[in-house]
Amino acid sequence: MATLRNAGSGAIVSEIAAVIVENRAYLSEIDGRIGDGDHGVNMAKGFSRAAERLAGRETSLAEALDALGQVLMSEIGGSMGPLYGMMFIETAEAIEDAETIDVAKFASMLRAGLAGVESVGAAKVGDKTMLDALVPAVETAEAAAAEGKDFPEALAATKQAAIDGRERTRDLVAKIGRASRLGERSKGVLDAGATSCSLIVGALADGIAARLDR
C-alpha cells in the first residue's frame, strides 16, 4: 500500500505556494466580480512569504504546513488569514506525529483542516465559499479510505471533488462574506475562496502523488 513519508515532504507546501502565486491575478479577478478584488493579492502575499521562510529548509510536511498556517494566521488578516491559517495549522497538527501518511491519514488530516476552518467562520456548504470545494474533497477522501481505494486513486478523486465543488459555486447564491450582499446577482460567477481552495487541494494531492513510495 503506497504511503508518503512525512519527513522531507515539506517541499509540497512550496509547490502549493507556487500554484497560488501563479494564480494571483486570476483569483483577484474572480474576487473582483462579486467581491473586492484582493483575494489573489492576499493569498499570494501570505503563501509566498511562507515559501520564503521554508526555502532551503529541510522540513516535514507537518512542519511546513504549520509554518504556512502560522504565517497566514499572524501576518495576513483578511478572511483568508484566519480561515486558511486555522485550516493549515489543524491539518499539520493531525499528522504531527505520523511517520508516514496513508489514505486514511490523508482523509483525517483534511477533516481536521475543515474543522479548523469551521472553528473560525460560520459558513456552511452551499453558502458559496471555500467550503464548497473543501467539504466534498474531505468526504471523497474519507469515502476512498473506507472503500480501501489505493492512494493515487484517492488523491485523484479528492482533487476532482474539489474542482467539481468549485464549479458548483458558479450556480450558488452567496450567503456569507462580501458577495452575500448581492443575493441573486452573485450567481453565475465562481467563488474566489472555493477556487483557491481547489487549487490548494489539487496541488497537495499532486505533491503527495509525486512522492509516494511503495
Binding site: 473582483g32 473586492d36 478584488g37 493579492v41 488578516g77 480561515l83
Partner: protein, 330 residues
C-alpha cells in the same frame, strides 16, 4: 496606472509611516507592531479603551480618527483587507487603561473573524472587550436583515460618539451601549461614478461604464443595488437622500448630523454641489440640520463617487458629537 506608488506591497507600511511622521503630536506607532497606530494620549488610566481597525485604502479612515477624545488605537490591514487578529489584539493592549476596551468596527467577514479571535486572546490576557459592529450601509442588505449590512462612513460618527463617551469616564458597558446607539442612528448610501484600482492588481477591479453610475456601491467597489444612467448632481443627491431617509423614516423635527464624504477622486467643489442639494432636501423633509461634515472622510483609494450618512440625534448624541477632538481626520 497614473499613481504615486513604489512597490505596491509596501504601500500600507509607507502610508502608515508617513502618517505617523506627519502627525507625530497626535499619533505614534505601537513599538511592537507597525500595523497598530496609537494615540499619543493613550492609554489613559481608568478610561475605557476605544479601538477600531480595518483594511487600508480608506484614508483618513481608519488611522485618521486616532487621537484625543476619539479612538485610542487602530489596527491596520492590507488594502481592502482586514487586519490580523494579532493587530486587533495589540491595539486592544495598547489602549487598555484597566477599564476594559470597546472595539468599534465595520461588518465585514474578515473583520468579524479577526476581532472575534483578538477578543479571545484579550480574554486570556485578562482584558474585558466588548464590540460594536457598524452596519449603516442601507444598500447592502434589506431592512429586515440589518445584521448583514456593511459598515461605512457612519463609523466616523460611532467613533466620535464612542470616543467622547469613553473620555467622559463612562463604564465599558455604557460606552458600548452609546456607540451602539450611535451607529443604530446612522444610515448611509454610496454612489460610484468610476472604479478604483488596487496597485498590486494594476487594473480596476470592477467596472462602471462611462455615462453610468453604481447606486449603493460599497467601500471596496462591492456592487450596489442598481446601475443607472449618470444623472445631474441634484438628481443623484435626491436619490441618495431618498434611499437613506426611506430606510430611516424619521419624524419631522428630528435633529440630524450629516456627513458627505468623497470616495477619493471626487473634487471638493462637487461635494459641496451635492451637499447643497442634500441639505435642502433634508430640510424639505422637516428635519433639522444640526451639524454637517463635507470632505474626504472615508475613501476608497481613487474611486470617483460620494457617500451620504445621516445620523438621527438625541440630546446625548448631539452633546457627544460636539465634544472637541484632536485627530488628523477632522
Amino acid at each position: 496606472m497614473q499613481r504615486f506608488v513604489n512597490n505596491p506591497d509596501d504601500i500600507v507600511d509607507e502610508t502608515v509611516r508617513g502618517f505617523v511622521r506627519a502627525h507625530a503630536e497626535l499619533v505614534r506607532l505601537d513599538p511592537g507592531n507597525p500595523r497598530v497606530v496609537v494615540s499619543t494620549a493613550a492609554p489613559v488610566e481608568g478610561k475605557v479603551g476605544v479601538v477600531t481597525g480595518g483594511g487600508s485604502g480608506h484614508e483618513p479612515a481608519f488611522i485618521g480618527y486616532t487621537g484625543r477624545n476619539m479612538v485610542d488605537a487602530v489596527a491596520v490591514g492590507e488594502l481592502f483587507s482586514s487586519p490580523t487578529a494579532k493587530s486587533f489584539h495589540d491595539a486592544i493592549e495598547a489602549s487598555n487603561g484597566g477599564a476594559g476596551v470597546v472595539v468599534l468596527y465595520g461588518n465585514y467577514a474578515g473583520d468579524n473573524m479577526n476581532v472575534k479571535m483578538a477578543q479571545k486572546l484579550a480574554a486570556k490576557a485578562g482584558i474585558e472587550v466588548l464590540t460594536v459592529v457598524a452596519n449603516d450601509d442601507v444598500s447592502s442588505a434589506p431592512k429586515d436583515e440589518r445584521e448583514k449590512r456593511r459598515g461605512v462612513a457612519g463609523e466616523i460618527f460611532m467613533w466620535k460618539v464612542g470616543g467622547a463617551k469613553a473620555a467622559s469616564g463612562a463604564s465599558l458597558a455604557e460606552v458600548r451601549d452609546t456607540a451602539q446607539k450611535a451607529i443604530d442612528a446612522c444610515r448611509s448610501v454610496g454612489v460610484g461614478l468610476a472604479p478604483c484600482t488596487l496597485p498590486a492588481v494594476g487594473r480596476p477591479n470592477f467596472a462602471i461604464e462611462p455615462g453610468k453610475m453604481e447606486v449603493g456601491i460599497g467601500h471596496h467597489g462591492e456592487p450596489g443595488v442598481a446601475v443607472e444612467d449618470l444623472k445631474p448632481a441634484n438628481e443623484i443627491a435626491d436619490e441618495m437622500v431618498r434611499i437613506v431617509l426611506d430606510d430611516h423614516d424619521l419624524p419631522a423635527g428630528t435633529r440630524v448630523a450629516v456627513l458627505v464624504s468623497g470616495l477619493g477622486a471626487t473634487p471638493r467643489n462637487e461635494l459641496y454641489v451635492l451637499y447643497d442639494r442634500i441639505a435642502a432636501q433634508i430640510e424639505a423633509r422637516g428635519l433639522v440640520l444640526a451639524k454637517s461634515y463635507v470632505g474626504d472622510y472615508f475613501t476608497s483609494l481613487e474611486m470617483v463617487g460620494a457617500t451620504l450618512t445621516v445620523m438621527a440625534l438625541d440630546e446625548e448624541l448631539e452633546a457627544l458629537l460636539e465634544v472637541e477632538t484632536a485627530c488628523p481626520g477632522f
